[in-house]
């Protein structure tokens, strides 16, 4: 998957997790939490959906990589490149 495709995939997951949010103007370099109402259970949902949909396993110590869209895409790019 290209970085753009990964971004779309993450956006798709976010829209399921936060169905009340308007994600059309999400800023990639600003943390999710500053733009959306996301708590720890929501972050676990992101991890879970990546596992379910793409078989990507993210170790707990690396959860901090999922802070913003750009950091998430950067982190996932090598893991999802072959998908």
């Amino acid at each position: 998957m290209t970085k753009q495709e990964i971004r779309e995939a993450v956006l798709d997951i976010l829209s399921d997790i936060a169905p009340d949010e308007d994600l059309s103007e999400l800023k990639d370099d600003v943390s999710f939490r500053e733009q959306m109402e996301l708590d720890s259970m929501d972050f676990l949902d992101i991890v879970m959906e990546l596992r379910r949909r793409y078989k990507v396993n993210i170790p707990e110590e690396e959860y901090t990589a999922l802070g913003s869209m750009s950091s998430t895409v950067e982190y996932l790019a090598p893991k999802m490149a072959e998908l």
Binding site: D16, I17, A18, P19, D20, E37, M41, L44, D45, M48, R51, R52, N57
Partner: protein
């Protein structure tokens, strides 16, 4: 002397109405709400399905995170508070208690999750972290407190199909003990979303089927063939009488008598003697005679032996009661499980105002074994001034619960 406890608000969702006015209208007009339904693994059956608008009081995220039972409880609780005319913004939320009757909880969520992991080779690493908060037994009541920012006590009352009445009793007692100043009490059911309950009733020979879904639930009819399972909910605001009077509340009625007891005889088979004792004890707690009761709402689920035994028990209690009328609600809405008692009481409460005993539905040929004097079979009956309603609910493991509500008088 215990405080007098009154009902000041009603919020409900049933397969044939999303508030008391709609529900009552449907009961008076003979409109049922049973539909054809299909559920995973079990296949085609019938069910009572609610169409309340969940987003009226919940965000989409809350709905996704929570349970159907929680959503129903939230809808009904808001509706009850609104109906009661309570100035919610200025209520001390620390003094509100939430007591919700459930027949079962957690089956729906567990079945869904087992199904989900079955799509991943039963890999438990994709089992949702939402499982525990969804399945803890206090879930529906807890969701109400989260949504409405209530910081007083909350829990569910697990009481099988007697749960709706049992939670009303609980709410009234907590007010009398001073544990809260406003009780949100009632019952909810999400049971139509678990295939297990359908399969189990079917395999027990107790699940109804009919070519016409509207005819499937037919308690007391000779050709009844079992239960139709429904979802639904009904929540009441209960207050101590002086508090209700102080704020000029509309008073639906006063809870003047009640009883919970146990058969102690069988896992599933009812015990008419114990049911009758439950009614008698409730009458005694209110200082009433059977002759004082104007409307008795039957539990009558539509099973062959259950209905007959229940009626046999009640016939022995209500002897020479010319002013006592009987009705049953499940022909309209099916069996709303934990919500049944609370919903069925609500359906009769307007009788204090309009003097009408709503009829049963789908009794085309009354089973002689279910004959009761003054059973209102096919059309609402004007019965004059209604002073007392007695509501019965009975459940598995032999749990019986009876509530008596009196028309409010100073």
């Amino acid at each position: 002397m215990l405080d007098r406890i009154v009902i000041t608000g009603v919020g409900l969702t049933a397969p044939n109405g999303n508030n008391l006015a709609e529900f009552r209208q449907a009961l008076l007009e003979g409109r049922g709400g049973i539909q054809n339904y299909e559920i995973r693994y079990f296949g085609k059956t019938h069910a009572g399905i609610c169409d309340y608008v969940a987003t009226k009081y919940q965000t989409k995220k809350e709905i996704r995170r929570g349970t159907r039972a929680g959503s129903i409880a939230i809808y009904c609780s808001h509706e009850a508070v609104n109906d009661a005319g309570i100035d919610w913004e200025n209520v001390d939320k620390d003094r509100v208690g939430v007591y919700i009757g459930i027949t079962e909880h957690g089956n729906v969520e567990t079945e869904n999750e087992v199904y989900n992991i079955s799509q991943y080779g039963y890999d438990t690493s994709v089992w949702t972290h939402h499982h525990n908060p969804r399945t803890v037994a206090n879930n529906p009541a807890g969701e109400v407190t989260l949504n409405m920012k209530i910081s007083g006590p909350h829990y569910t009352i697990g009481a099988a199909c007697a749960a709706g009445n049992a939670s009303l009793i609980q709410g009234a007692q907590m007010l009398q003990l001073g544990e809260c100043d406003l009780a949100l009490a009632g019952g909810v059911s999400e049971s139509i979303h678990t295939f297990g309950i359908f399969a189990a009733f079917h395999n027990q020979g107790a699940l109804a089927s009919n070519e016409d879904p509207l005819k499937a639930s037919r308690p007391l009819d000779k050709n009844r063939n079992g239960i139709v399972i429904s979802e639904g909910g009904c929540m009441y605001t209960l207050e101590r009488l002086p508090d209700a009077l102080a704020r000029g509340a509309k008073i639906y009625g006063e809870i003047v008598g009640h009883c919970n007891n146990s058969d102690a005889t069988d896992f599933v088979l009812p015990n008419p003697e114990r049911q009758a004792q439950c009614v008698q004890k409730a009458l005694a707690s209110a200082g009433l005679k059977p002759q004082d009761i104007n409307i008795v709402n039957l539990h009558a689920t539509g099973t062959h032996s259950g209905d007959a035994q229940e009626c046999a028990g009640l016939r022995k209690v209500f002897v020479d009661c010319p002013n006592t009328y009987f009705n049953a609600t499940k022909g309209f809405i099916g069996h709303a499980m934990g919500a049944a008692g609370a919903l069925e009481l609500a359906g009769n409460l307007p009788a204090f105002e309009d003097g009408l005993c709503h009829a049963c539905l789908n009794i085309d040929e009354l089973d002689e074994e279910c004959a009761l004097p003054n059973l209102v079979i096919d059309a609402p009956r004007p019965i004059g001034d209604v002073k007392y309603i007695l509501n019965t609910s009975f459940g598995m493991l032999g749990i019986n619960s009876v509530v008596i509500v009196k028309k409010y008088e100073e």
